[in-house]
Amino acid sequence: MTDCDKCEELLQGYLDRELTDDEVVIAEAHLNGCDYCRRRYRFEESLRVYVRTTAAERMPPGLMERLAQLRVTDAGATPI
């Protein structure tokens, strides 16, 4: 396995902040010295933000009122 293969394998966990300390050291040392992997790291990082924002749809109007009507307490009469 090349260093780039190893970096590719660690990259998702690195972005998720779920790597061990030792793995973080390996990933960062490689990213600092490798343009190829650093480009792909930045790509993956911005892809995540982009997926999150483009796939997020706001609640349709009216749903909040219908949810508030499901309340059991008296406060349900006045939607927050």
Binding site: R42, S46, L47, V51, M64, R71, I80
Partner: protein, 196 residues
Amino acid sequence: MVDPDTAEPDGARRAATEARDRVRFEEEALALADQVYRVARRFVSTREEAEDLVQDTYARAFRSWQSYTPGTNLRAWLLRILTNLNVDRGRRLQRRPDETPLEETDYYLANRMAESAGEQVLDQDRVVERLSQDSIVTALSSLPDDFRDVVVLVDIGDFSYADAAQILDIPLGTVMSRLHRGRRLLKSRLAEEAVQ
């Protein structure tokens, strides 16, 4: 002067405390509705289904509010109800992860974009915007249910691996493997759409 709180019989005071707790629970749950809807919307294919699912979730949550432990993650608790309801509805494809095609590697989408437009394209800040919103939504909905559940919870809902494991009632290792495979599949699908 008699303090009305201490003058109350125990039973009445308990009832008043419970009513206050219940109001607070309902308000805290409603404040999370938009975030719950965002996740629900990507679990199902239409807006109507997502609205139904969220309404059923809140109806059940308001009934069984006492099984929520104050101080724990309420958003995760609501999503646990929602994912169970979604499974109960049986609208899922029920495809087994083992039967899905092998996904490409993690760098696949970046590599395909670099092959078609040159390595330097990856230096552009807005390179990901070459992918349309439709293609991302379509690619997410095309994932096998078991993979999509995890990808949506972690990547759209911003839940930790541990929260996702608890919500879906699966081991942490299963969350990690489904997440990694699901993201690779997602990128394979995006590459099919985005890079001709």
